[in-house]
Symmetry: C2
């Protein structure tokens, strides 16, 4: 394998000149540049990553820290990972996947102290995440995927749960629904202070209040069984509900199953909208799920770009960005069957359902836009 020495020799210049041609750190005359480039091409020269890293103190590697304790990544997380990998690769960086338990702080410190990582992306950020302090101590620039309780001074990208919930609620209310139940993550997750569960809970209450409607919320375990149980509980509590908004991607299939088991059709009797869901998963259901499509890949890309910006320019420009999930209307939502007898709670102004044909056209257009 050719080294920079070889190139310099062949081009009859010094190694430093070759280096400067490569890095562009100082002006090189057109003539020598071409000589050097020709020599590099001739020798099939590729800079040695470790040597360059050692000398420049920049590995051109960023770490993606994913929690180890989870039972695998969901479709959204996977999209995030591949999006990040693609963005890093496009920028000439490498992305290493480092499984580190959220509380395995020693392991994290070790990893960060090896000077192999120019920066790190933190997945599954908790409201109080001890990993942040560790990384900061060691001086590794980082970008959060998610938010800590107080993210001031930290760069992050996260889903805009407020806007996503509001859009979902608007969609259902726009169809004419007034009794809408929100199926959140588990009670345990809420008690643990799991950010998305908390944020969507508040956002749902606010969005419903904005329409003069009473919020109805049920937690569900992250499983089909959890969804079934939650749906049963919801129907017991509000037999007249006409729509379900499900945060819980795992539970939503149980919700559909329970509805089918009780002979309630979707979307005829009950509309179902799934939050933070990938198209692939939404398409699995019958009917395909109207869903708030998670911006997984874009999140990954933006997170990497943000991190690289921190590395290139050392200006401490904090970047905080929220991305909403986009509504994709599929087959699981529609106007409620009967506008009849409500008045049980939150009797407020709700828009009437649009005429069927008009509505159908609208839905088709919305779907097409995303395709």
């Amino acid at each position: 394998m050719a080294t920079m020495q070889d190139v310099a020799r062949l081009a009859r210049v010094s190694v430093s000149t070759v280096s400067y041609v490569l890095t562009g750190a100082r002006p090189i005359s057109q003539a020598t540049r071409e000589k050097v480039l020709a020599a590099m091409a001739e020798l099939d020269y590729q800079p040695h990553a470790m040597a360059r890293g050692l000398a420049s103190r920049r590995s051109r590697i960023v770490g993606l820290l994913l929690p180890i304790d989870e039972r695998g990544l969901g479709a959204t997380e996977t999209a995030f990972v591949t999006g990040a990998a693609a963005a890093a690769s496009a920028a000439g960086y490498h992305l290493v996947l480092s499984p580190v338990g959220v509380n395995d702080l020693d392991e994290l410190r070790r990893l960060a102290s090896q000077r192999m990582l120019d920066g790190a992306l933190l997945m599954e950020v908790q409201l109080a995440d001890p990993r942040v302090a560790v990384l900061q101590e060691v001086g590794v620039p980082l970008v959060l995927i998610g938010r800590t309780e107080d993210p001031s001074g930290l760069s992050y990208v996260d889903i805009d749960f407020d806007l996503t919930v509001r859009d979902a609620v608007d969609h259902l209310v726009g169809l004419g629904h007034r009794r809408i139940v929100y199926v959140n993550h588990s009670a345990a997750a809420l008690a643990d202070g799991y950010g998305p569960a908390l944020r969507t809970r508040d956002a749902f209450a606010a969005a419903m209040a904005g329409h003069g409607l009473a919020p109805l919320m049920i937690p569900a375990d992250d499983s089909a069984a959890g969804g079934r149980a939650a749906m049963a509980a919801a129907l017991a509590q509000a037999p007249d509900l006409t729509a379900v908004l499900a945060m819980n991607e795992s539970a939503v299939f149980g919700i559909l199953g329970e509805l089918a088991g009780r002979g309630r059709s979707v979307p005829g009797d009950v509309s179902v909208v799934s939050m933070v869901t990938s198209p692939q998963v939404a398409e699995l259901a019958t009917p395909a799920l109207t869903a708030m499509t998670s911006p997984g890949s874009a999140l990954g890309r933006i997170a990497v770009e943000t991190l690289l910006r921190h590395l290139d320019a050392d200006n401490g420009e904090i970047h905080q960005q929220l991305l909403p999930c986009a509504l994709e209307v599929r087959g699981s939502s529609g106007p409620p069957r009967a506008t009849g007898g409500d008045g049980i709670t939150g009797a407020g102004p709700a828009r009437p359902a649009p005429a069927p044909t008009e509505e159908a056209a609208r839905r088709r257009a919305a779907t097409r836009r995303r395709a």
Copy 2:
């Protein structure tokens, strides 16, 4: 950050002694070892990854080469990736995720020539995969996930499609099914020579023949719509079918939808078994899918371990291993409703369905074993 120099100074030994304590490449007396270890602890010393890599010519980084052109990773691939990451991490290695198009050979050559990768894992291997030759030219040890047409001389891990199909067919035949349709990947995939599609096709034919039954096979596009169409075609072709074996993870939900749409119950009228499927996905269906569970995580782990063995000992010990998917019986398979009027094709000896109670017990046991 402390360097090896600092440690040596504090421990009053030479740098090489510190190095040897770290690498264990030569015997060190108990006394000095302890001095050194103490100094390292005191200084919070961590070896500099790049420096070590440059000097030792081993980066302790392995690459996971995933095709960029795909529309995201499925659950099986994701499990593979995380399994590989965990195994690498456990062995003190790092795993970089490199998205490289299957035909972007220049990019691959560049990547491999940077000397950043000690070895590579190749995902989504094609029957004739040009990436293999590139990696071999550059001298990067590799392990395939999947198999080329002629994998002699190459280490690989792959799913044992033959055994998996046989086990699935045995399960269905054991339940009493005789008219079984195999829903494969798309016709295009078959024409392209997509290995898994080809291998399972032949395995299905063989397994059915082994039971004296006629194989019935239908291709399906990788989508819910593809599954619906395939199911419709299958029913048109063989109205008396009682079981479906689906290779196509995306299509299987369409299959279920089509059956439900036609009022055929699962597993009452038709049993459905899904191939190469993750438990998470299997649980989404109602009823939950009896499935051949893909060994994604184990494949990832074994692939990494195999690769590391190649790196440590330079003996060219080729390692080729096939892992079957394990049958996990859930709710979508059961005995056929009626043994009545078959004799249309492949009239051969088929085991009768076991008595209901006995069978139920067997199924439960099988499930428990895997839990």
